[in-house]
């Protein structure tokens, strides 16, 4: 080739660049060096995700024994013990319900873990019909007749003749169904936990891009989905806040038979907050979205807005009375619940569009505009 001189395009660009860069002072807050996404993912994997599943397994073990004891001897005492261990396990689930990807994600006919073991409200008709016939399949699409809230129904809901729920267990079908339900949850959580501890953890940590399908993107998407599910399904729907709803819907309250709704709501919200900070359940603060935001353009301002609004959410949460049960509150005194929903709604943009935009996380598969 004869033309060996430099491409004028490149020459010109380099020249201009030199001139420009020489007089551009780097901003103070956005030049802290590249963020170690791998370390963040490792913190999420070890201290938040796997830790949550491990805790759940422990609590499920107790629930399983509780159901076993009830099987051996039907007594009010054993029922109460089983109820206590159910509530413990369900509280634990609030720390593990936001990671429905990878081993806990959809696969073939299996939906995400949250759909498989956390669907509410359950269908009273379906469960009663199972108790009548003894026919059930815990792998079909009847997700509203299995999982935690089906166990709750069995343990807490008054049985048909209006007597206490202990009556229900005079029937062998009910005893067996309860054991099967508990075992089903246990097996599903066990499967997810062992997938994480036998290889997926490293896959997760090493997939450290920001494209769709990267761990950061998947984890972030599920984080937002969990936050929105809390807002829309645990608060919005029962409070009757959807267009077209003309009154509150107490029957849609999460965990309405046991009445632990407000407690679990609080725990769920706490989990969301911990994820954002990168904080483990016992309080150790590791690398999380907050730390990631500190390293990007505009991050400092967003961290501040996020924290300010989180404080407002806490004010609203503290104002929410713990009695009466939420299923009563939504009809009789919904104001505090609605106020909490409003504050959570205001929080949404900081978690949803602002954060993904600043971090440059791809959230959908479709092509963007080319250059």
């Amino acid at each position: 080739m004869k033309t060996q001189h430099f491409n004028p395009v490149i020459m010109l660009s380099l020249l201009l660049l030199g001139a420009l860069y020489a007089c551009t002072e780097p901003d103070e807050n956005d030049q802290q060096g590249p963020f170690d996404r791998k370390a963040m993912l490792a913190n999420y994997a070890d201290n938040i995700v796997v830790a949550a599943y491990a805790d759940m397994l422990e609590k499920m073990e107790a629930l399983s024994s509780g159901a076993g004891a009830l099987q051996t001897e039907i007594s009010q005492e054993n029922l109460t013990a089983a109820q206590v261990s159910w509530a413990e396990a369900y509280r634990s689930w609030q720390s593990a319900n936001a990671f429905n990807f990878g081993p806990a994600g959809e696969m073939g006919l299996r939906k995400g873990l949250i759909e498989e073991i956390g669907t509410f409200p359950v269908s009273q008709d379906k469960i009663e019909s199972i108790l009548e016939t003894g026919n059930y399949n815990l792998n079909d699409f009847n997700r509203d007749a299995r999982g935690f809230l089906a166990v709750e129904y069995m343990l807490f809901a008054p049985s048909e003749n209006g007597n206490g729920s202990i009556e229900r267990f005079n029937d062998q079908i009910a005893i067996d169904f309860l054991a099967a339900l508990v075992l089903n949850i246990q097996e599903r959580v066990q499967a997810v936990h062992s997938a994480w501890t036998s290889g997926y953890r490293d896959t997760f940590v090493n997939n450290n891009g920001t494209d769709v399908g990267s761990s950061t993107s998947q984890f972030y998407n599920e984080f937002v989905r969990s936050f929105e599910a809390l807002k829309n399904f645990k608060l919005g729907l029962p409070l009757g806040l959807r267009p077209g709803q003309v009154e509150a819907a107490p029957q849609l309250v999460e965990a309405r038979y046991s009445g632990v709704s407000l407690e679990t709501l609080e725990l769920h919200l706490e989990t969301i907050e911990r994820i954002w900070y990168g904080m483990a359940a016992e309080g150790t603060d590791g690398l999380g979205f907050e730390d990631y935001l500190e390293t990007v353009v505009g991050g400092t301002a967003l961290i501040q807005s996020t924290k300010e609004q989180l404080a407002q959410v806490h004010v609203a949460l503290d104002a929410l009375p713990m009695t009466p049960a939420f299923s009563t509150q939504v009809s009789t005194e919904p104001e505090a619940g609605i106020a909490l929903h409003t504050e959570i709604q205001k929080q949404t943009r900081f978690f949803k569009s602002d954060m993904s935009s600043l971090l440059g996380i791809a959230i959908t598969f479709s092509s963007g505009d080319g250059d």
């Binding site: 660009s13 420009l20 505009g298 569009s353 092509s367 080319g370």
Partner: protein, 466 residues
């Protein structure tokens, strides 16, 4: 008056004559083959990714293009049939078989699927539609094609230079306008949005550390602007052409690695070949021939299609009418992208006149939109869960573009009216972050959007840019 007319006719005559200068057909034949091939690949890719279902079948609501509200989504079967037909047409275009029909079918099929939902608007889809439209009329099948094999009498080696020029013009507009759009404070001085995008790509193998380098966003912003604004001139200049084309390849591969932009980089890498000389294209086609056919076959072809008469035997000049039409088309292409100047406010914020203007990868923008539906009789207000009606991509795109917000609000009004909400009014609280600035209200949260209709007029319900 009469003298003017005569002068006009004279000028037109002279221009037509200049545009009818015979040049070799090879460059537009390469373009035909390349576009046909890429369209086939991209349509197969689209099907393989399951996007026919994701984009067109599953969503319960589609956003429409202004003026094209009448375009409706057909049945799933018909959608798949259209895509199958597009693959056939793309292959036919590539091979030059029933060329004009193939180009027409491909243009109509592709443009129809684009018009189904505004949410998937991409500048390069618009560009592809334009190229396909121009190809319908171009004589790109009269050489190295099945049509020639079928009907040797249409074979020609020379065509008016007009045909190559229109594609070069179109590419020039795309590049230069994309470059001019980058000349703004945010892009050049703040190096945004690249300051957001590049660090996010720091884990890409090999190039990652480069993207993480603090100076990279500035370099990429400036190089990008200069590249887009000037590359056409360096492609036109024979001396710089090989370097410029190497730059095209590097640039588009780089953006292809960095961003989720599908087959677009390949389209540009292929289309810019139109700037190469006739000889280069003739040699390329010869190589293609030798690669795909044995010497025996070639001899048979040659015998069948040999044109022994004068080289200009089949030369078909373009008429003055065609030249006038093309001129009108390019006047439109040159002026339409500037329409944003007629609107007040920051175009990146309002997006009035943003589309169809070759503004590509210029900003990082995202929003969260909350819609409130109020029953006009009971006064009860409900909060919409957008994902009930929209897929994640629709939700994301809608939440930052005023015209889509308006369309969705209208849909919500009608939907909830049919669900028993009486005289619904719909308002929206939309918070948008532009280039990492704190999010702000995009539109007036008090306005009842059902009372507003879209149009060419400036949208007075958009809030001032932050």
């Amino acid at each position: 008056m009469e003298i003017n007319e005569i002068a006009c006719t004279k000028v037109l005559h002279r221009i037509t004559k200049a545009l009818n200068k015979p040049v070799h057909i090879a460059p537009i034949v390469t373009l035909r083959v390349a576009i046909g091939f890429l369209m086939a690949v991209s349509t197969i890719r689209f099907l393989a990714l399951g996007w026919v279902a994701d984009h067109y079948i599953e969503p319960v609501f589609h956003f429409t293009y202004f003026g094209f509200e009448w375009v409706e989504v057909v049945s799933p079967f018909a959608l798949y049939a259209i895509h199958a037909l597009m693959i056939v047409a793309a292959v036919a275009l590539m091979l030059g078989w029933q060329y004009h029909i193939a180009a027409l079918v491909l243009f109509l099929g592709f443009t129809y699927t684009e018009l189904i939902d505004l949410v998937y608007y991409l500048n390069h889809y618009y560009f592809v539609s334009i190229v396909l439209c121009l190809l319908i009329f171009a004589p790109a099948h009269r050489y190295f094609s099945l049509d020639v094999l079928r009907k040797p009498s249409i074979k020609t080696e020379f065509i008016p230079r007009f045909w190559g020029l229109i594609f070069q013009m179109m590419l020039a507009i795309v590049y230069i306008y994309a470059g001019l759009a980058k000349i703004n404070h945010t892009w050049l001085i703040e190096a945004l949005p690249l300051k957001i995008w590049l660090p996010a790509a720091d884990s890409i193998p090999v190039l990652g550390p480069l993207f993480a380098w603090a100076a990279a966003p500035y370099i990429f912003s400036w190089v990008g602007m200069i590249y887009d604004s000037t590359i056409v001139f360096f492609l036109l200049w024979q001396k710089s052409r090989p370097w410029a084309y190497a730059m095209v390849v590097v640039f588009h591969i780089l953006t292809g690695i960095l961003f989720q932009i599908g087959v677009f980089p390949l389209v540009m890498i292929a289309a810019t070949l139109i700037f190469f000389s006739e000889h280069w294209h003739i040699a390329l086609i010869k190589r293609l021939r030798n690669f795909f056919f044995s010497a025996k076959h070639l001899a048979a072809f040659r015998q069948k299609t040999e044109t022994t008469a004068a080289v200009l035997k089949n030369f078909k000049p373009v008429s003055r009418g065609v030249v006038v039409l093309a001129a009108l088309f390019f006047v439109f292409q040159l002026l339409f992208p500037w329409r944003n100047l007629l609107y007040p406010g920051n175009i990146f914020w309002t997006e009035e006149g943003y589309r169809f203007s070759w503004r590509v990868m210029l900003m990082e923008k995202a929003g969260t939109a909350t819609f409130y539906v109020k029953d006009g009789v009971s006064g009860r207000v409900g909060i919409v869960v957008n994902s009930t009606f929209l897929n994640p991509h629709q939700e994301k795109q809608m939440a930052m573009q005023p015209d889509m917000i308006l369309q969705f609000a209208h849909f919500l009004g009608e939907h909830y009216a049919s669900q028993g909400v009486q005289n619904p009014s719909v308002r929206a609280e939309v918070y948008v972050t532009l280039n990492a600035r704190p999010s702000q209200l995009l539109i007036d949260p008090q306005r009842d959007l059902t009372q507003i209709s879209d149009g060419w007029k400036a949208k007075d319900w958009i809030m001032p840019a932050p």
